[in-house]
Structure formats: C-alpha cells, structure tokens
C-alpha cells in the first residue's frame, strides 16, 4: 500500500508522458497565440516561440524523451555496474577499463555526440542512444569503481574468491547487492544526464527534429524568450526534473530491499 502510494507520482508522470499526446488540448504545431504569449484563456501555460500552445507541447513532449533517456540510463547504469565492479575486483582489468573511461571523460560531450551521430548517418534514435551511452558510461564507471573498491577488499569477497567463485559471480552476487544505494542514485542521475545528452544533441541539430514536441528541445528552443514567457522553459525543465525524480523513486521503491539498514541513527 505504501509502496503504491510512493509510486503514485512516478506513475502519474509516466502516464502523462506516455498518454500526453491524447490529452493535448490543441495540435502541437499550430500557432494559437502570439509568440511567447503569457498564459491566458486557452493557453494556460502561454505560447512558445512560434505561438504554439505550451501545454499541448508539454503534454506531448515527454514520451520520446522518457523512453530514450530511460533506455540510456538503464544501459549506462547496468554496463557501468558490471564493468565498474569487475574493474574493482580485477586490478589489471580495472586499469584498462579506467584508462579507457578516462580518455572518454576528457573528450568533450559535444564532440563525442557529434562524432557518433554524424558518422552514423541515418542511425536516428539508435545513434543517439549509442552516443549518450558512450558519453555517460565513463562517468558512471568511475563512480561505481570507486564505490566498489572497498567492497572488493572485504572479507566476504575474499571468502568467495577462495571458495572458487569466478568474476561474474563475484560481481553479481557479492559486490553489486552491496552497492544498492549508490547504484539507484546513479540510475536516477544517469537519467538526468541522458536527458542532458539528448538536449545537447538537439543543440547540434541531431536530436528530435521540429515540429516534434520534446521537453529537452522545448527548453532549448524557448530559451531566448525566457523573459517573455518563462513557463515555456520552466515547465518542461521541471517536467524533466520531476521525471528524473520519479524514475529515482520508482527505482528505489521497486528494487528489492536487502541488506542491513543503517543500524543506528548517527
């Protein structure tokens, strides 16, 4: 019951994101008011750069973003969790993984996204997802690696090694379950970061193309008019934030509770 309650906001935002296009009061690409008109009758959130209904576009703009970013976030988190812990367990492998990751951290995101998406002509969403994963992975690996290092040195991992466990089992059974909090946060943050990359791609004219409504794209397109109609920027931004928040809560609620809790209040 309490679980259901905590999941409610996440469910709600997911429903809005997925079914939003059906709820939109007016078509997403037809101008209905002056550009950047302030909220008024018929346009509760005002109008965007072309005078289109911000509410309609907000309702319509979550689906693609939600799905793309979710896929990216999950891929990055899972891959980083596996690679990062493996790296922590096997110093030799770890050095290679970390050095590769380091190189990629140094590469500015803009350049990385450009490279992947432009060299993969016609890759579309897949190319974007690939780029986002490539950009996000090194960061995530570093965090996981750092978090896993103390556990890799713990007595129970040693015992498992002595018991004959191989790397995959060590990763999967011994280390990962102990990184629950860090991994869940990572998932949420990777989601946010994925949104970021999608926005960056939009910045490079590589992401969703107009007139598609997309929260990330809206934030960017309407930025010049933020002083005229702040809602056109703030609402999609908040939608992204709330979405990230609910992804996070959902992950926390749904993931199995295990392990000892914080034993005593500090």
């Amino acid at each position: 019951m309490r679980t259901a309650l905590r999941l409610l906001p996440a469910g709600l935002i997911a429903v809005i994101a997925l079914a939003g296009p059906l709820l939109a009061p007016s078509p997403i690409d037809a101008p209905v008011a002056a550009p950047y008109a302030l909220p008024g009758p018929g346009v509760p959130l005002g109008a965007d750069e072309l005078g289109r209904n911000v509410l309609s576009r907000v309702l319509a703009g979550g689906r693609e973003l939600l799905l793309t970013s979710l896929v990216v976030a999950c891929l990055v988190t899972v891959a980083a969790a596996l690679l990062g812990t493996a790296a922590a367990l096997r110093p030799a492998l770890g050095r290679i993984v970390e050095r590769v990751a380091d190189v990629m951290i140094l590469l500015p995101a803009v350049l990385a996204v450009l490279l992947v998406v432009l060299s993969w002509q016609g890759g579309g969403r897949v190319a974007l997802v690939t780029a986002a994963v490539a950009v996000g992975l090194p960061y995530a690996i570093r965090v996981v690696c750092a978090a896993a290092a103390p556990i890799a040195g713990s007595g129970y991992v040693e015992a498992a090694v002595a018991g004959g466990e191989r790397l995959p089992q060590l990763v999967w059974r011994e280390v990962l379950p102990n990184l629950r909090a860090t991994l869940l946060i990572l998932l949420g943050l990777r989601f946010v970061a994925a949104v970021y990359v999608v926005t960056t791609a939009a910045f490079l004219e590589l992401g969703p193309q107009p007139p598609a409504a997309d929260w990330a794209l809206m934030v960017r397109e309407n930025a010049p008019g933020i002083l005229l109609n702040p809602w056109a920027v703030v609402v999609p931004s908040l939608a992204i934030g709330v979405l990230a928040l609910s992804v996070q809560t959902a992950a926390e609620v749904l993931a199995p509770r295990s392990g000892r809790q914080v034993v005593a209040r500090l």
Binding site: A34, Q209, L227
Partner: protein
C-alpha cells in the same frame, strides 16, 4: 494579428540638437573564436565589422534613396559602365595625418581582390583593372558593362596605406581611431580631423557579446548604451521598460525558402507557384518575426528604390495551390525534407511554421535541422528545398546577379531562365534611364513568376538603445554601423 506595439512611448529617441561629447558603449554579437581583424578578411563577427567600419572607411556606403552614397569616394562616374573613376573625398587623411592617395586605395582594392573571396566581392574586376588615377582618384575596370560597381564598392573596400604589413595596427581613415583592442572588445576615439566632419561622440566602446540574449541583458541593466541587431524577442522583452528605445530598421534580412529548379520535385514551375500560394505570409511574419517585419512578394531586394511595387502581392490561396499541384502531377504522398540551420534567429522557426502551413495544402514537409558547417557543406546550393538568408539587403540587380542569373556560382536554386538572363544583362549594362527601368521591371516580373525563391517576408533589423542616445542609424543591413552622427544627451 497582434502586431508589435511601437517603441515605448515615453522613451523615444533623444531629441534636441546633437550634443558633443560622451562615450557610447555599443554591444555587437561576435564569437571569440572567430575574431578577425583583417579589414579584407572574412568578417563573421558583427563586432569586428563594426570596429573596422568605424576606424576605416569604405569607398561608398549604403544609403536610403539612392542606396549608394559617397564616403571615402566623394563621387564616381563612368561613360561605358566598364571604366569607373572614383574621386576621393577632399581632405581625406589617415589617422596619422598623411593624406589618402589613389595609390593607397588601389593597393587596398587589389589586396581585397586577392583574398579568396575577392572574385565574388569585386566580380568582373581583375587586379589588373584596378589603377590609381592621379593623386586622388582610382579607376576600376570591369570586364563587362556593370552599373552596379559603386554598389559593389560598399562595405569592405577599406583603405589602408600602400604596402601596409601589419593590418591590425594600420591607421584607418574613418571617423574614429582605434585606441585599444582586446578579444573583440575595442575602444575608439574621435578622429577630429575626419573629412566628413567631426563626430559628436568622444569615444565609442565596442563590446563583443556571444549571444543576443547576453547583449539584451547588458542593455537592460545599463551595462551598454546600444545593442545592435538583437532580434524581435529581445525587442519584445525590452518593450515597456523604462529608459530603453527600440529602433526598427525595416527590410534588414531576407530569409527565403529555396526550391531547386534544375531537377527534383520542385523543378516544375507550377509546383513552385503552388507553394508560394500555400504559404501564409502574414502568419509567418506574425509568428516567426513576432510582427517585426513586412510581408514580401518573392522578389529579393525589397529596399531597392527600383523594387517593383507594381506586382500584385501574393496571398494565401490554397484552392489554387491545390489545383496547380494536381496539374503538375505532384506526388502528395511523398515527404519532402526542408533543410535548415540555426545560423540566424528565426530561420529554423520559419522552416517549422512553413512545414505546418504546407500541410494545409497537402504537402508533407519534414524539417531537418543541420549544424551550420554541415548545412553549408552539404545542403546549400544542392538540396531541393532549404532555407537561406541574406543579411544585407542589397539591390534587386545585386541579388539577380549573385544568386539567379544562370552563370553565377551561387545560384541557390540552380535556376536557368533565358528571359531573366536577358533582362539582367540589359539592366546591368544600361545607364540610368528608362531602358534600365524597364529591364529591371522585366527582371523582377520573371523572378516573381518562376524563380526558385519563396520570399515570404522581410525581417526588421532591431536595435535597442538607452533613452539618451540620438542620431542612430535607420538603414537596414550594414547601414547599422554608421555611428558617426550618433550622440548622447546629457
């Protein structure tokens, strides 16, 4: 529609006689990575051009009517439209006091001609065709009769001393003298000895801004006095604020849609006409430009005194557009990509709205936004449907020669039309008079009927200024840099 209200009533331009003195802080857009201080180089940055234009003089400058007025060249004449003689202004000197000679001008023009884009800047004029004529004149010889040579001498015909090596520190001839320069920001002080008469301002400080938004914020918080070319969104933001004037310079920018005529889905003249009839020009101006613009009629060069006002203004006629498409056998099931880029504000938006409007005519247009470098490399001059823009509103003939006559390298729509070419040749080859007027009318009629351009409107140039600034330029395009008569009230 909801047209823009006029500039805030209480804060009109400063009135009264020009006052001498004061330092004007001007903002201009520019990228730190693209700063270029060579007067004959490629000026991507507004800020660089502004600085150069204040410190150096071109031979001629844009005007209202006529659209070419004297500057360093006091007058010009030609008998055959091939051999043009430009006489320099009386008393023109460099900032170091030495007089400007015909040799200096000729050397500078040859230097300009030798740059990679020289051939398009001075079309038809070879280095050999540039000669000093006495102490204070220069002669330009064109390969063909060209009445537009004075017009070509606008903008970048900056004069340096003969055999200058360090162009960034070379003295100019302009109304202001460069005092300091750093990273695109400059301070210029009055040139008391300027041949055009002493400018009222003591000094001008040019500040480079990465984006129009930053520039607008700076103006609104009083960090600068003049923000040049900020765009309609900034204008609306500034409207109604105390102490800010909004200056509109009509016919500043053309953002036509190019339909490829040589081949592809738009090769049929009827299809092109259909699209021109399907677009809702009023809505485009209202939504894309926030009303800061005027409806146009598919002919480029709207600010030209010779612009054909006689042609009927096209308006939306979906029924006729549909009929035309049917006649042409246009495939309405196909999806047509409209390429665009975000180089200038409003360009991508115009494409988006255009695509929406085309749906009403049953044409599926899909907007593809491209990064600037990709756009210019892959799309421009090649794609069947794309947006383009021309920032300086030059003359009808200029556009015809540069982008439409069959021989030009920059024929954006790959348009070839015998009739048009003939009219063009007649127009450039004709001296002022009725022959030229008829040719120009003919040229614009053909362009109106069958060129590859869909010009739905013209964007206003918009500057913001603090209330106390007077004498600001009103001309479109690069006319905005003429700050030598501006002044500050106390």
């Amino acid at each position: 529609g909801s047209g823009p209200r006029r500039a805030a009533a209480g804060d009109g331009p400063a009135t009264g006689p020009p006052r001498r003195g004061g330092t004007l802080r001007v903002g201009a857009v520019g990228k730190a990575s693209a700063v270029n201080r060579d007067p004959h180089g490629v000026q991507v940055n507004d800020s660089d051009y502004l600085i150069l234009a204040l410190a150096h003089d071109p031979l001629t400058v844009p005007g209202h009517r006529p659209n070419v007025v004297p500057r360093l060249a006091a007058r010009w004449e030609s008998d055959d439209l091939r051999r043009w003689r430009f006489t320099l202004a009386e008393g023109a000197t460099f900032h170091d006091g030495t007089p400007v000679t015909g040799a200096d001008v000729a050397w500078s023009l040859r230097r300009l001609r030798a740059t990679p884009a020289g051939a398009t800047r001075l079309p038809g004029i070879d280095a050999g065709g540039i000669k000093a004529d006495g102490r204070n004149a220069v002669i330009l010889t064109s390969d063909y009769p060209n009445s537009e040579v004075p017009l070509l001498a606008r903008l970048t015909t900056f004069t340096l001393k003969e055999d200058t090596t360090d162009v960034t520190r070379a003295p100019g001839t302009g109304p202001f003298r460069l005092e300091s320069f750093r990273d695109g920001n400059a301070r210029l002080v009055r040139n008391d000895a300027w041949y055009g008469g002493e400018p009222p301002l003591d000094a001008i400080e040019v500040r480079m801004f990465e984006s129009p938004q930053a520039m607008t914020s700076a103006l609104l918080t009083g960090q600068i006095d003049l923000a040049s070319n900020v765009g309609p969104v900034a204008a609306r933001t500034a409207e109604g604020r105390d102490g800010v004037q909004v200056i509109r310079r009509p016919h500043d920018m053309a953002m036509p849609i190019v339909m490829r005529t040589a081949d592809g889905p738009f090769a049929d003249e009827r299809v092109r006409l259909a699209l021109r009839l399907a677009v809702d020009r009023e809505a485009m101006v209202r939504q894309v430009l926030s009303g800061y613009g005027t409806v146009a009629n598919d002919v480029l060069g709207t600010a030209d005194p010779a612009y054909a006002t006689g042609l009927t203004q096209r308006a939306r006629d979906l029924a006729r557009a549909g009929r035309l498409l049917d006649e042409a056998g246009f495939d309405r099931r196909g999806t047509y990509e409209l390429f665009t880029t975000e180089d200038v504000p409003g360009l991508a938006e115009s494409a988006t709205l255009f695509a929406t409007q085309m749906r009403d005519a049953g044409v599926n247009v899909k907007v593809v936004k491209q990064e600037s470098a990709v756009f210019w490399d892959r799309t421009w001059l090649k794609a069947p449907l794309y947006t383009t823009y021309w920032g300086t509103n030059d003359s009808v003939v200029f556009f015809a020669g540069k982008t439409m006559q069959s021989g030009t390298a920059h024929n954006e729509a790959a348009w070839k039309d015998e009739e048009f070419d003939r009219a063009y040749r007649k127009a450039v080859g004709a001296t002022r008079g009725t022959g030229r007027a008829t040719a120009l009318r003919e040229l614009q009629r053909v362009e109106y009927e069958s060129s590859g351009y869909l010009l739905w409107g013209m964007a206003d140039g918009i500057d913001l200024a603090a209330a106390g600034v007077g004498g600001l330029p009103k001309l479109p395009g690069y006319g905005r840099v003429q700050l030598e008569r501006s002044w500050l009230s106390a």
